[in-house]
Subunit: 192 residues, 2 copies
DNA sequence: TTGACAAAACTAATATAATTAGTTATTATA
DNA sequence: TATAATAACTAATTATATTAGTTTTGTCAA
């Protein structure tokens, strides 16, 4: 009857991400997604175990996309510049992938162990980019957590229109990272 | 027939917040909320203009609750200590109000101007707490944005189980704020 | 080449949510 | 006490997620 559409998970997730980025994450329903794919709602269950499973996979897909952007932005740069590149790429991703970024950040990592794995890659990348700023193992973890917090918080607040004042947000980002890096330097001097 | 329950917005929002904190924000449906209030779903429309309006009001309610906690935590303290108190109170609120915190942070402030107003109070409080660290007007805005980003990002990532490693998160918070404050100091010295 | 099997589509049906329309009861107040 | 506003109600509609059971299609082995 209907010519088999031949979908794979990856293709479906791409479409789902498109809907999310265009119309918001909550616009990705079984119904809208199925319609975009030219199939009926129940057919989606051949590929995903329901809405929950779809959300998990969207998050993993998004994390990998984000990771790729971040890797790309930090190839061939080092030190302070690398960190700024990283930060800029992170925020750029969030800005251009509203819905997918929501998919990444609105999910509890305990829901599925593959989420943890996908997230760990990026955490490790943060750590590598911070290379020269490290002090010791434990301190490194704190510093990585701090940078992740700053970047996610910035992306999230900006997305929701939380930076209302007419002051350039790009400059705020650069300033925030600069201050943090200066802080690490000073912290290191104090420690020794 | 049914004895008039005599609900007011505030009372309803308290119950809604309870459900959100206990079972997650998505568990706050018209149906569950009405049931908790011993009324039928359509009766809720006498108090709120539907789900969207309820979400807006939950966010405003949450912002005010958060603001009160923050005010409370920063009375009678000054300088660096005040900022640490502020940060700790912020994270404590997020930890003990998972669902309500989601209500605050998952809404676009452009949806309703009262959201902007409620948020501005807290932004101004951040600014006051940062008192001594200010440099100039524009710089102040960047610094406030930075601190807000850090705190929200930290709360959000922690809530989703993003800090997986067995390292104390309280220490990470203190460390992050310390480094930021050190950074501001150093930044200020560089500027002059 | 064919036939069987698995994958992936389908239809039909159910449960739950949000919402609207129209009605009834209760409360405050004129 | 009568009335008007408020806030509850029932009934009905639409949309969503999901399940059960069926049909189609493509692949691969005999």
């Amino acid at each position: 009857m209907s010519p088999r559409v031949n979908l794979d998970k990856e293709a479906i997730l791409k479409i789902a991400a498109d809907i999310a980025d265009r119309d918001g994450l909550e616009a990705v329903t079984i119904a809208t997604l199925a319609k975009k794919l030219n199939i009926k709602s129940p057919s989606l269950y051949n590929h995903f175990d329901g809405m929950n499973d779809l959300r998990v996979h969207m998050a993993i897909y998004g994390m990998n996309e984000l990771y790729n952007s971040l890797i790309n932005a930090t190839i061939g740069v080092a030190g302070e510049e690398a960190i700024h590149c990283f930060a800029e790429a992170y925020i750029t991703f969030a800005r251009s992938h509203h819905g997918l970024y929501d998919a990444i950040t609105q999910i509890s990592l305990e829901k599925d162990e593959r989420l943890q794995v996908a997230g760990d890659k990026t955490v490790e990348l943060v750590s590598r980019v911070l290379g020269t700023y490290k002090i010791n193992k434990e301190e490194e973890i704190h510093i990585v957590r701090g940078l992740r917090s700053m970047l996610h918080g910035f992306a999230s607040i900006e997305k929701n229109g939380g930076f209302g004042l007419p002051v350039d947000t790009d400059e705020s980002l650069r300033n925030m990272v600069d201050i943090y890096l200066l802080g690490i330097q000073k912290y290191r001097n104090t420690e020794i």
